[in-house]
């Protein structure tokens, strides 16, 4: 017994490098970022302590609110829509394609949908801004070909359609992730319940809704959590495609803080935006995890 206690002590040494490095780099940086958010600083010289001034300014900054509004819109495009569409597609692939047409087609479908996931987001952004370009872009070319010239808009160049265009791209990107997770989730389910319901004459959609979805709650909560966090962190596509514009039409918190850090050099202000974003993300993640526990417990 004494030996075991002794050993348990030595195990701490194994955690030391990872914990120390993480604490310094991530913990330390985050703490310093919070400190900076109470300061007025241009990045050189001594930071000047101004208390809550940055946060007070944020409350009156229209762009700040707009950026968070857009982040929440991205939750729809990157999390909610891909989750439900992905769930449906995964169930269709699993129940119909794999059953009737074999694994080769089902693999082809999964890989095709997954391809956007493997490409770096900024590169995806380049591809899409190229496709969306008003004169020579493929999307407008097709629209003109099928007689919808009036719909051939400057998608990223005008405020009314810029968010919509980014959102469509996000759905294109995200589906692959949700489909892959849900297909593997479906594979772990016991077919017994589903078969019993089928013999009782339940339609596919009834079985999907009442039997399949509740059994996939663990996957659902993981997918919702990770994609929601990703949605609030969006930076790369906005940076390469719109720069937050036109105007503030696609401004998001991540880009907004970057902009203040490195363009206006209002470092403290940028740090305040980043801190608010971090807080919202943490609260949201804890909330979703709790919800997951509660759903898991009542089941």
């Amino acid at each position: 017994m004494s030996k075991k206690i002794n050993q348990s002590g030595t195990y701490y040494w194994y955690a030391l490098p990872g914990v120390a490095a993480f604490l310094t780099l991530v913990g330390g940086s985050f703490a310093y970022n919070i400190y900076l958010s109470f300061n007025n600083w241009q990045g050189i010289g001594k930071p000047e302590w101004i208390g809550l001034k940055n946060y007070q300014d944020l409350i009156h900054d229209h762009t700040f609110w707009i950026s968070f509004l857009h982040a929440f819109e991205f939750i729809f495009a990157m999390s909610i829509a891909p989750t439900f569409l992905g769930l449906l597609v995964a169930a269709l692939i699993y129940d119909f394609i794999a059953t009737y047409f074999g694994n080769a087609i089902s693999t082809f479908l999964r890989i095709s949908l997954y391809v956007p996931q493997i490409i770096a987001l900024p590169v995806v952004g380049i591809l899409w801004s190229w496709m969306l370009s008003p004169n020579v872009g493929v999307i407008n070319t097709i629209l003109r070909k099928i007689g919808l010239s009036s719909l051939a808009l400057n998608w990223l160049g005008q405020s009314s359609t810029a968010m919509l265009s980014l959102s469509v791209m996000m759905i294109w990107i995200q589906i692959g992730y949700t489909v892959v997770i849900f297909v593997s989730g479906l594979a772990r389910l016991d077919p017994y319940l589903d078969e019993a319901a089928q013999l009782d004459g339940a339609t596919w959609f009834q079985r999907f809704r009442i039997i399949t979805i509740p059994q996939l709650y663990p996957e659902l909560s993981v997918v919702l959590l990770t994609t929601t966090v990703a949605a609030l962190k969006v930076f790369g596509p906005v940076y390469v495609m719109t720069g937050g514009g036109p105007g503030d039409a696609t401004q998001v918190p991540a880009f907004f803080s970057y902009f203040h850090f490195f363009s206006t050099l209002r470092v403290g202000y940028g740090a305040a935006v980043a801190t608010v974003l971090a807080l919202i993300l943490t609260v949201l993640a804890i909330g979703l995890l709790r919800l997951q526990r509660r759903v898991g417990a009542t089941r």
Partner: protein, 278 residues
């Protein structure tokens, strides 16, 4: 899953719908592909949808040379590979203490790593930037290697800890009774059994790091130190006058990712689902 009944028309409708969807999903890649090989004159004449009559590969060479893509590839490879090694090592050691050593306070350590997962890079970037400048690591790929090597341990520790808490107790007990030290247990029992999982994790870190954007954007201003992803994002803007050159650039940019994916497809899929179920 379903009881196999006679096919009827339903499954064919589903098949048609899903294949249509898959083709729409592949369409952007197809269109980038055909335009990357299309001479600009043909693009002007026949537009973006036409297949090239004459397959032109000169744009790849030009873009490759213009951005010194060989250098970018070497940078990205070096960064991603070292990050994968550092992050897997650190994650494994920490997870070993948590999952096998069951050290006191392990829930707190794990909780800390998990909260850190939600912190956006924006909330770290300025302090990291200042730190790198002070330490003379600014504009060096080592800044990126250290930062991602450490940052990735959050996810890695979380994942490996949950794998290791399910590690068979009998094996460990037997070894302890035989008087094996923690180091010996790590080397002779845990590591060999965990090797496939560590490989999955390393592959994921490699690809995540390859795709990183914000931190390299801030840390690596000079052309010579940039990564593939970063150079793609900031140089292709120069190619707005020639749409086919842009397509070629995009194609070169995502080729490495596609190649990795084809090589590591199974490993990666295992990793993604491993992360989800744990």
């Amino acid at each position: 899953m379903s009881v196999k009944t006679k096919k009827g028309v339903g499954p064919y409708l589903v098949l048609g719908g899903l294949i249509g969807m898959a083709l729409i999903w592949l369409f952007p890649l197809y269109i980038a592909f055909i335009n990357a090989f299309k001479p600009q004159t043909e693009f002007v004449k026949y537009g973006v949808l036409a297949l090239p009559h004459h397959w032109d590969i000169s744009k790849f060479g030009k873009f490759w040379g213009d951005v010194d893509f060989t250098k970018k590839l070497a940078n990205s490879l070096q960064i991603s590979l070292l990050v994968a090694i550092i992050a897997v090592t650190l994650s494994f050691l920490t997870a070993y203490a948590i999952g096998i050593g069951r050290v006191k306070g392990r829930t707190w350590i794990l909780g800390f790593f998990m909260v850190a997962f939600t912190i956006p890079q924006e909330a770290l970037i300025y302090p990291l930037y200042s730190m790198a400048k002070t330490l003379n690591l600014y504009d060096s790929i080592w800044s990126i290697i250290i930062i991602f090597g450490v940052m990735s341990t959050g996810f890695g520790t979380y994942l490996l800890s949950s794998v290791l808490t399910t590690f068979p107790d009998e094996l460990l007990e037997a070894a302890r009774i035989d008087g094996a030290s923690p180091w010996r247990i790590l080397r002779s029992i845990v590591l060999p059994l965990l090797r496939p999982t560590l490989f999955v994790l390393a592959t994921m870190f490699f690809i995540f790091t390859w795709n990183e954007f914000l931190i390299p954007l801030v840390m690596l201003p000079s052309n010579n130190n940039q990564t593939v992803t970063l150079s793609m994002a900031i140089t292709t803007g120069q190619y707005t006058s020639d749409p086919t050159a842009r397509a070629a650039a995009a194609l070169i940019g995502f080729m490495p990712s596609v190649i990795f994916f084809l090589i590591f497809q199974r490993t990666l899929m295992r990793g993604i689902t491993l992360g989800a179920v744990k």
